[in-house]
Structures are given as C-alpha cells and as structure tokens.
C-alpha cells in the first residue's frame, strides 16, 4: 500500500469515528437526567474517546500525506479545508477538556464532518508546489491561520447552541427565520456533496467551446448536466443535456450550474427532512440544546474568540504579510482573499468591543459569532472559487 492510499484510508477512518462519536454525544445529552447537562457521563466519555481516536487518525492522514508529498498538505482547497475540519475537531477536544460539555460535540462534530465532506468534493490528488508556495512560510502562515479560524469556529458552535436553546420557535419571528436559515445552509452544503458525488459516480462529462470575457475562444468541460451554458457555447459531447439558458461572458456558467445543482439537491433534501420530521430542523434540535447552560455557552463562545483572535491575527495577517513581502514584494496588495481576511479580523475586533464595552452578551453575542463563521466560510468558498485572484489555489 502506498503512503498516499494509507493517508486516504486514515482520513476515512477519522470521518467514520466522528460520525460514531456524534451518536454517542447525542446519547450523552439525551440521557442526562438533570435539567442542565453539565456533567460527564459514560456516554460522553465514550464519545470523547472515539473523537480522540478519530483525531489521531486524522493527524495520521495529515502526517502521511506530508511525507508522501514532501510538503505540508495545505496547498490546495481540498488539503486546506480538510486541515481546517481537523483543527475544528482539535479545538473541540481542547474545549471539551476545559468545560466537559458533550452537547458541544453533538453540534461541532457534524459541522466538522460536513466540512471534510465538502473538501473531498474537490481534486484530491497530491500536487507539487508551484514556485510561489515553495517557502517554509507555507506551513507557518496557512497552518496558524487554519488553527485560528477553527478556534473561532467553536464560538459559532457555542453560539448556535445558545440560539437553538433560547429562541422561541413557536412564534414567527426574525430570529426563528434566520436560525432555520442557518440550518438550511448546512443542508445545502450536504446538497453540494450529494450532487457532486452522484454525477461523479455517473462519470458525467459535457464539453463545450465558448467565447470568454476577453473575446477569446476556449474550451470547458462540465462534470454535471449543464443547466447554464457559457457565452456563445457550442456543444462538443453528443447525447448530453442542452443548456436551458446562456450566460453573459463574465459569468462562469459551469460554476453557476454546479451551485444550481447543489441548491436543487439541497432543497430537495431539506424538503424531505421537513416532511419527515414535520417541523423546522431547529425545533428538532431544540430539546437537545435545552440541556445546555446558556451562561456556559455564552462563556465558551466568548473565550473561543478571545483565544482564537490572537492566533488568527498572527496566522492570517502577520505571517501572511511577512510572506507576501518575501514572495510578492508587497506585504499587502488588497487582493480579495487578503481583504476578506481583514474583514474577518475587523469583524471579530468589533465583536470583542461590542461585548466588552457595550455589554453585548447572550443572544446578540451568539448571532455575531455565527455571522463571523459565515464570513470565514465566505472567504474559504466564495473568494477561492468565484472571485478569482493571485491568491486562489483551488
């Protein structure tokens, strides 16, 4: 077995462990007889043990891939996002030992699972480093930034639990709407995974000639049925779907189609879930969330930002600027990824100020934490895949 295949298997084992651990955490939460689930129980202990086994396996994937590739496995979208998912689990384990809350695991692990699943939809082959990435700063900047972001992600998890517990889901309100919207977004990501996997299994391919935004002719291959066609497209593969509409040259119809398919699969999935459980997903999760101590969730959310913010600053801004100066001759170029990292930083600075000086605790703080996570994900997904740039390594 090659090192690469061992690496892949270890990742798969980690993935499965996280799934199983989620079930055990669920059991821990359900079985607690007291009104607030603050104590560690048998279920919880098993859950965290399995999580740690999964995490070790995940680290194993990381190390073996590093050895196989000759460089830190954080050089493309798949590698980075997987590392990010892994660190979220790591951050959770750290917080678990500080606060002993299985409920956190029940929410954190599925998010990590979704992220790793999402990552696996992108090219997973090991690629050699291009000149710009040949620097030890690759390890330092990217890994520290991922670590910082994963700690900040924990604040969003705590915030989500807080909101699920405390928002009145029986009445129509803006909060109820937006909370369910967050749940829907998670399902849509599952939709992306489902649609990409389905068409990959079918080995779907459709090629086109088209005219790009500079007026030059080019060719493109879709891996999903082409709902939208590129500018002045000309089909090359017979027997495939005819696009329903043509897009102007600045819109990448292939990406638009992928997103549309994800939406379709996701919405169908969401619809099915709603049909089966007959209530909003948040309402399904609320009884579990009710076992949380709101004050504790609030404190965890706040501490996660406190711990994560300096790490994020160091990794995503300071190390990034030092490396940019060495590689690109300017430490800051206002390219989209840099700008969105700055936006993330400013946002969390505002979070801390609002909390410390304006007393924004409890629900307000929880919403801010969730929004912060959305900004981080926007930088990871939208900026990398849609807003192209010098910095995009997808």
């Amino acid at each position: 077995m090659t090192l690469v295949s061992i690496s892949g298997n270890l990742l798969f084992i980690a993935f499965v462990c996280y799934l199983v651990a989620t079930l055990f955490f669920g059991g821990a939460v359900k079985s607690s007889t007291k009104k607030v689930a603050t104590s560690e129980k048998r279920w919880g202990r098993i859950g965290i043990t399995i999580t740690i086994i999964g995490f070790i396996s995940n680290l194993g994937y990381f190390v073996t891939r590093w050895i196989a590739a000759g460089h830190a496995p954080v050089s493309n979208l798949f590698e980075f996002t997987t590392a990010f998912g892994m660190m979220i689990v790591g951050s959770f384990i750290l917080i678990y030992f500080l606060y002993k809350t299985p409920l956190l695991g029940l929410f954190a692990l599925p998010i990590a699972i979704i992220i790793i699943g999402f990552a696996s939809m992108f090219p997973t082959d090991i690629n050699p480093l291009i000149p710009a990435l040949k620097s030890y700063w690759l390890y330092v900047h990217v890994i520290t930034a991922a670590l910082g972001e994963s700690i900040l992600a924990m604040s969003a998890v705590a915030g989500l639990i807080y909101l699920t517990k405390n928002i009145d889901l029986t009445k129509r309100s803006k909060q109820r709407f937006w909370l369910e919207a967050v749940m829907l977004t998670l399902v849509l990501v599952l939709g992306f995974v489902a649609s990409t996997t389905t068409f990959k299994v079918m080995d779907y391919e459709a090629s086109f000639n088209y005219i790009d935004k500079e007026g030059k002719a080019d060719e493109i291959t879709y891996n999903v049925p082409p709902i939208f066609g590129m500018n002045e497209y000309e089909a090359l593969t017979p027997g495939t779907m005819t696009p329903l509409a043509e897009t102007p040259p600045i819109v990448n119809a292939k990406k638009l189609t992928t997103v549309t398919w994800s939406l379709i699969f996701g919405l169908v999935l969401y619809g099915l879930i709603r049909l089966i459980i007959r209530k909003p997903i948040a309402a399904l999760l609320q009884p579990l969330a009710k076992k949380a101590n709101s004050q504790l969730m609030d404190e965890i959310g706040y501490r996660a930002v406190l711990i994560g913010f300096p790490v994020f600053t160091l990794g995503a801004l300071i190390f990034a600027m030092i490396w940019a100066q060495e590689a690109w001759s300017r430490f800051w170029g206002w390219d989209p990824k840099e700008v969105w990292a700055l936006i993330t930083w400013l946002f969390y600075a505002a979070f801390l100020h609002l909390r410390l000086s304006k007393g924004w605790q409890g629900e307000k703080s929880a919403w801010l934490a969730v929004i912060g996570f959305i900004i981080i994900m926007f930088n990871l997904i939208a900026v990398n895949l849609i807003i192209a740039g010098l910095h995009s390594y997808a």
């Binding site: 690629n127 710009a132 404190e299 711990i307 300071i318 300017r330």
Partner: protein, 552 residues
C-alpha cells in the same frame, strides 16, 4: 471641575461612578444597580467630565466606543465592496481611457458604474483613507481617555472596600465567621499559594492577580497606532520605492531608482514538473492540470558603478555579487530588494538568412542578423554582400511607402536590404519581413531566405525599497503582545473582609473567565471556611439551586 467627596474621605473627580478608594457607589444610578459596572473600576472617563468647547465635542466623538465600532463596520463593508470586481491594479490595461473601456467591455453597465463611482480604486481613494485615518484618531483618543484614569484607579485602590461595593459584585457571599482570627491567615496563605498578591490591612484582605492583563487592550492599540504611523510614512519621499524592469538574457540594465546599481541577466530559467522525473505521487495532478511550474528564476550579476562614475559610464562597473532571483528569494542589497515577478519566453534574438538564387535555389552564403545590434552590412565572401538599409523591429505596415515600426522591441522584425553579387553588381533591393517579402523595384534575381531564429527570455523584475517595514513590524509585534496580554491572562481580585457586626463578606471580580476565579475562590473557601457565595449573574444556576433547595 466639581469634585465628589465620598463618605470615606476620598476626593473623586467629577463623573466618578464608584469611589476610587473604597468603591462606594457615588451616583444614584449606580446605587440603583444590582450589579455594578466594573469596566473602568467606576472611574470617570475623562471625556465625560468635560464637554464644553468644540474641541471637547470632537474629542468626545472620537473617544466613543460606539463611534469606533461604527468606523470598523463601515470600513469592513467598504472593503467588501472593493472585492466585487477586480481593482485597477489587477486589470490588464494601462492609462485611464483603457481602464475605463476595460470595465465597460468586460463587466458591462455594472462595470462602467463601478469604475465611474471610483469603486475600482477603492483602497487608494481619499475617502477610504480618511476612514482609516479617523479610526487611527479614535484609537489614540479612546485609549488615552480610558487608560489614564484606569491606571490611577487601580494604583490607588484600597484593600478594604465599602460593603455597598462588595454587595454589588457579581460574585458575592456573606455569612458567619466560623474561624475567627484564623480566617484571614488561612485565606492569605491559600491565596498566596494560588499565585495572588495579597494585601492585608484594615481588617480586610485583597488578593490580586495579573493586573498587567488590563493594559493589554491599550498596548495592542498602541501597536496598531504604530503600524498606521508606519503606513503614513510611506508618503514621505525616500521611504518607499516601487519600480519594475524588464531585462533580457544577456542584457545589462540600470536598476531604476537605485544609486548606481546595474543588473546583468545571465539566464532566465523556467522549470516545470516532468512526469517522468517528478515523484510518482504527483502524477495524477500533473495529468489533470498539464504543466505545473516548479521554479522560475533569473540568474543575475549585480554591478555597482564606482564612486566617482556618472550615469552612462558603463565600462568600469564593479561586480558586487551573483545571485539567482527566485520567487520567495529576492535579491537584496543596501535596503533594496529585487523580486522575480514575471517573464516572457522566446523573444526573438537573432534571425538567420540564406542569400539564394530564386531560380536555381543555390545558396551564396548565410548571415545572422542580431536583432539588438544589427550590422550595417554582411560580407558573405566571393563578392557577395548584403547591406542592411533599414531595420524595423516591430513592423506594423507601410505609410507613404515607408515601413513603420511601433516600438523598439523585436516582436515582428522586418528588414530593408540591398543584395550585391558578382552577377548583380548594381545591387537588388528587397524588403523582408516575417512571411512577407516585397520587391519594390521589380523582380529580383536573388532573395533572402529565412532559415532559423534564436530566441531568448525576458525577466520581469520588481524593485522594492521600503524603509517603513521595521516600523510596521514593530507595530505588529506590539499588537500581538498586547492582544496576548489581554486575552490569555485575566485580572482577578478577591476581597475578604469582616463586617462591623462580625460577619465575613466575600467578593470576587475578574474581567473575563469567571469559571476560573470561582474555582480559585472555591479553594480559598474550603480552606478558610468562608461563607458560600452566589454568582448574581448566572440566573439559571440560581434557579436550579432554588429548585434543588425546594425539592431537598
């Protein structure tokens, strides 16, 4: 300013909420509050005490955290808008008209609007820079306004606080003194064991830990201020150089804006990952993507002209060093750095021709024309000669019969030649371009037949000098220290005192991480038999306790 006299005898400045010495609430609002706001120890924020002139009003505006947060949010949103479409820096067009046309052509009406509103050069715009400037002012003013009173407060705080202060702390307990004299001694010992600085006076004990963490936010603000200051310095001449230069293999060029430095490019190297040679592990990726560059570098020699030499004198250049400029490995000298940024492959360097008889195809000799330094004439021997009448490196066409060239770069070389042979002693004129031969004076017997080209690569280098870098680095370092100081430590205080009627009152405060200070207090409580405390903030725990008490 009016001073407020506290019952304990301490004189407080106007606007103080809690007495700086004993902690008694001084305002009606504070008295009515169940829990007191400990953010600035109840000290008067200087701006609040003084609000008369316009200067004061401006000062107070910038001192407000609400204003600061609003500025952060506005900057955040503005920055996001700048990412909707690429900024001018990343657009492949130069000159105002070309850029405007590009936005309209590629992004349509939205692009046109984006450009016209100035959003395409957002981060360099005066209003964005003004916002950053305002944030800088806010940082300075807000920090000064708070740190000075806070420092004075914490320095002057008394060990024994007034009961009304204790009662209004989040963690508070009051009860019987079971150990009598021992209570204080044991508490002191335990607190010291936990790393607290302990003061025991006036029948009260104050345990304090990590006061330095309170300065964290102000230190990190200082770091940001220094950073912004460094950015500002770039406006001053001499602090910042940003130039580009293109240099061909074999060329020697002056490095722009450097005092007397020249660069000679020996070679430009582009390496790609070869499927055969690269690690097997990379095969899938290489197959999928095609060519993946592994390295670009320019091998150069750095020269410096001698002290007394003038620009233009290039014969006495002294070699300084040889280097290979790669991405991530700039060439550094005297505060300058030269970066490998771009390249163009295969620019024409020389062209080889054959002088041949059109009818028989017989070759009378060949010549190689160096496109950078062509010669006046080429003697092929045996009375055969080719004279170069005109050379047009970037041929665009004829105008009034005259060949035109649009630049000195050999992108499309063309030649006007006169060929002389023993057979044609008067010489025949021909115009030779790529894939085009024009014979202006009628049919010739001979022609120049194109044989071969030699090419060379061109490197695009960026020259950078940035004297502000160390200031920015210093600002960043101070920021990190401040943010670590404020985030990773917390300021904890535990007060224990004996009330007038012999009870023990206990209170604790921390600026963050209540769980830990409560744990500390638990330990002291255990050892010194202190009365149990309640967390007046955690209503759920209170409720649970009540339920517990009910059922038990």
């Amino acid at each position: 300013m009016n001073k407020i006299m506290c019952a304990c005898g301490h004189e407080n400045p106007e606007g103080t909420v809690l007495c700086g010495s004993c902690g008694r609430p001084l305002t009606e609002e504070a008295e009515n509050q169940k829990l007191v706001d400990m953010r600035y120890e109840g000290s008067a924020r200087r701006s609040q005490t003084f609000n008369k002139s316009i200067v004061d009003k401006v000062w107070n505006f910038f001192s407000s955290v609400k204003v600061g947060v609003s500025l952060i949010v506005i900057i955040l949103v503005a920055a996001a808008i700048g990412t909707i479409l690429p900024q001018v820096f990343y657009v492949p067009a130069t000159g105002e008209t070309e850029i405007a046309a590009y936005y309209e052509r590629v992004y349509g009406t939205f692009g046109k609007l984006y450009y016209q509103l100035g959003l395409s050069d957002l981060y360099g715009s005066w209003w964005f820079q003004t916002l950053i400037g305002m944030l800088g002012i806010s940082l300075i003013v807000a920090s000064l306004d708070r740190v000075i009173p806070l420092y004075k407060s914490l320095k002057k705080q008394r060990t024994r606080r007034h009961e009304s202060f204790m009662k209004r702390q989040r963690v508070f307990g009051i009860g019987e003194n079971t150990l009598g004299e021992e209570t204080f001694a044991k508490s002191e010992e335990q607190l010291k064991g936990l790393g607290y600085n302990v003061k025991h006076e006036d029948g009260a004990v104050l345990g304090e830990k990590a006061r330095f963490s309170r300065w964290g936010p102000y230190i990190n603000h200082l770091g940001l201020i220094i950073f912004l200051f460094g950015v500002m310095l770039r406006a001053l001449p001499g602090f910042y150089v940003d130039e580009t230069m293109w240099i061909r293999e074999g060329e020697t060029r002056a490095i722009p804006e450097t005092p007397g430095y020249y660069l000679k490019s020996n070679e430009f190297i582009l390496e790609t990952y070869d499927k055969e040679q690269a690690d097997e592990v990379f095969n899938d990726a290489i197959e999928r993507v095609g060519t993946i560059a592994s390295n670009y570098q320019t091998d150069v020699v750095l020269y410096k002209k001698p002290e007394d030499a003038l620009p233009g004198q290039t014969d006495k250049l002294e070699e300084v060093k040889k280097d290979s400029i790669q991405v991530n490995e700039p060439l550094k000298f005297e505060g300058f750095a030269v970066y490998q940024m771009d390249f163009r492959l295969d620019e024409l360097r020389s062209m080889q021709f054959n002088l041949s008889n059109k009818a028989t195809g017989e070759s009378l000799g060949d010549l190689s024309v160096d496109l950078v330094e062509p010669e006046m004439s080429y003697d092929l021997g045996n009375g055969n000669k080719v004279e170069l009448l005109g050379y047009y490196p970037d041929f665009t066409g004829f105008e009034n019969g005259e060949p035109q060239t649009q630049s000195p770069i050999p992108n499309n070389p063309a030649f006007l030649v006169k060929m002389t042979t023993p057979e044609t002693p008067k010489g025949e004129t021909s115009f030779v371009a790529i894939k085009q031969t024009v014979e202006p004076f009628g049919d010739n017997k001979y022609k120049l037949e194109f044989q071969n080209v030699e090419t060379r690569d061109v490197s695009g280098l960026t020259i950078r000098k940035d004297k502000t870098l160390w200031i920015l680095a210093l600002g960043g370092l101070i920021f990190m220290i401040g943010v670590a100081q404020g985030s990773y430590w917390n300021h904890r205080r535990i007060w224990i005192h004996e009330t007038k009627d012999g009870q023990i009152a206990v209170a604790a405060h921390t600026n963050k991480n209540w769980l830990s200070v409560k744990k500390d207090l638990d330990q002291v409580t255990l050892v010194a038999n202190l009365p149990p405390y309640i967390d007046q903030h955690d209503l759920e725990a209170l409720e649970e306790k009540k339920d517990g008490e009910k059922s038990s």
